[in-house]
Amino acid sequence: MSEKLLEVRDLRKSFQVPGKKKLCALDGISLDLGRGETLGLVGESGCGKSTLARTLLMLERPDSGTVRFDGIDPFSLRGKELLAFRRRVQMVFQDPYASLNARMSAGDIIAEPWRSHKSLYKSRRDRDMRVRGLLDLVGLGAKAADKYPQEFSGGQRQRIGIARALALDPDVIICDEPVSALDLSVQAQVLNLLNDLQGQLGISYVFISHDLSVVRHVADRVAVMYLGRIIENGPTEAVFERPNHPYTAALMSAAPTLDGAQRKERILLKGEVPSPLNPPSGCRFRTRCWKATEVCATTTPPSAVDPEIAGHTAECHHPLLQEGSALVPA
């Protein structure tokens, strides 16, 4: 991995819900992100992807665990230092229609972050220059500054959202399903833009998506989440080609592909994701897993390492690769 930028260890976050119950959204998350790297975060709804994103943005305070950003614990910062830190992690939202204020012009939307971060681009002239520069950078052209969101298409709006995230020169951009609201032909344009920007500016992305083909295209490494835990983590190709956790294998096989005829046997999981209010004991996935045995109900599985690929781990008592090619449920 390139120089380490973000290090998360054993992060936990739960929410109190009515009825004195606890909803455990993050249950011991550990991950690393290198500079200029893209980490893909996949998992089904309710698995904790968005809570993790919100915690990395410091919108949620974790119950326990550590976050180190360039060696600093952001949750220990106060005042000016905290403000300066917030610049470094920015966000691109899923819905380009809801995430832009219809009463502000594109230029005002992009310049808005500087109203909080007053030390940047102090003069009007500097700000205007920078807005035009950002609009050029995202391929909209400087003239777009005076137009309002409703004058743009979905793909163009998402470009404005990206320009706004770039306005504070962040080190990390968290992209929460940035293309899932866009049509396929436009989706490719936005993915290309994100890729170009990374090449030019060396930004890191945390890329949250449910679309596995998109993640495979953009991510250097992939973390698969299930009920608040990262159950498999590794280099993108390794996770896609040699999934080690049964859930990853099932997820990969459930996604339809253009090459339908050549697919591996489809693993059809039983049931749906259990409620995070009442997660299964031991391994979280055991209620839907075809390899589950008694030990899965009693013990949380340890992290198993793929002997052939550095940094490829899976939390499973019965990892697939160590048991031959038994990728298909019996």
Binding site: E44, R216, A254, A255, P256, A261, E272
Partner: protein, 339 residues
């Protein structure tokens, strides 16, 4: 034999179509004038087969479905075309006949199951309704039919669950309920309008498997409306690709995807990050679809088409035959391979 090959060989592609849509045209009246949401769309669906209507948002695929089931908003009208099902034209029969055909001949599954179900009635009551209305069954008989149906679509403990309300079910289970309601009266044609778009992929796989089984069991024609190319590749036998209200290419899925004859189909296929590795430039289609208020003369795709030339601006290409069972609306289908 792979599952896909098996499906095709078992199919009689020349069987008589059960639904034949011909020249369907839908206009929407808006403050700024009339816009054409669906223009001269024709397709047919056969029993035991899945036909996909594929296209991006605003291409008219859902409007086509809504017109077929007679649920168009008051501002939208079918201004031309016919849809023949069971020897009647859906657009010229009276309301009473259409009601009679709803569910028994033609049924629809919507994308958003939570808004399609009534939150104030138990699912048992809602599932029993088709039997009470169409077969005049007593409440008790209809409920036992509903329980059977819930069991068939894979809802655990149907006897107790029938007394639950829609919000007490998960997304996947709600979609199963909608499907159960749609197939209750054994329709000839089932329209599925983005049935899995709101669902997670492992649940999507379950729902598509259920639809496949029911299609075979009831010998239904399924019209699958979707924007997902991979879903079409795996689930459909034939496809009609739509763009800006027009159907621009039709044919067997395997052939259309292997060898598209319209530059838009090719462009869509190129945009899928399928084998693209990390960092590869994805091919995208430049620009955006035309405003439906200002559809250009000539070809609807000309503004984004790399093959466009003078004739494309003046003459709209007809959906013409480009091979056995295949049609495309392009002046230069033989050049699409270069796109």
């Amino acid at each position: 034999m792979t599952a896909v090959a098996e499906r095709r060989s078992a199919k009689d592609l020349d069987a008589d179509p059960v639904l034949e849509v011909d020249g369907l045209t839908v206009d929407i009246r808006t403050i700024t004038g009339t816009m054409r949401a669906v223009n001269d769309v024709s397709f047919s669906a056969r029993r035991g087969e899945t036909l996909a209507l594929l296209g991006e948002s605003g291409c008219g695929k859902s409007m086509t479905a809504t017109a077929l089931v007679g649920l168009l908003e008051p501002v939208a009208d079918v201004v031309a075309g016919s849809a023949h099902l069971a020897d009647v034209d859906l657009f010229s029969v009276g309301r009473a006949k259409r009601r009679e055909m709803a569910g028994t001949e033609l049924a629809i599954v919507f994308q958003d199951a939570l808004t399609a179900l009534n939150p104030l009635y138990t699912v048992g009551t809602q599932l029993a309704e088709p039997f009470r209305i169409h077969y005049n069954l007593s409440a008790k008989e209809a409920k036992s039919k509903a329980v059977e149906l819930m069991a068939r679509v894979g809802i655990p403990q149907p006897e107790t669950r029938m007394n639950s309300y829609p919000h007490q079910f998960s997304g996947g289970m709600r979609q199963r309920l909608l499907i159960a309601m749609a197939v209750a009266l054994n329709p000839s044609v089932l329209i599925a309008d983005e049935p899995t778009t709101a669902l997670d992929v492992t649940v999507q796989a379950q729902i598509m498997a259920l639809l496949r089984d029911l299609r075979t069991e009831y010998r239904m024609a399924v019209v699958l409306i979707t924007h997902d190319l991979a879903l079409v590749a795996e689930e459909a036998d034939r496809v009609a690709v739509m763009y800006a209200g027009n159907s621009i290419e039709t044919g067997p899925v395997a052939e259309v995807f292997a060898n598209p004859q319209h530059p838009y189909t090719k462009g869509l296929l190129n945009s899928v990050p399928v084998n693209a590795r990390r960092g590869d430039e994805l091919k995208s289609i430049g620009g955006t679809p035309p405003d439906l208020h200002a559809i250009p003369d000539g070809c609807v795709y000309q503004a984004r088409c790399p093959l466009a030339r003078d004739v494309c601006a003046t003459t709209r290409p007809a959906l013409d035959s480009v091979g056995p069972n295949r049609k495309a609306a392009c002046h230069f289908p033989e050049e699409v391979v270069n796109v």
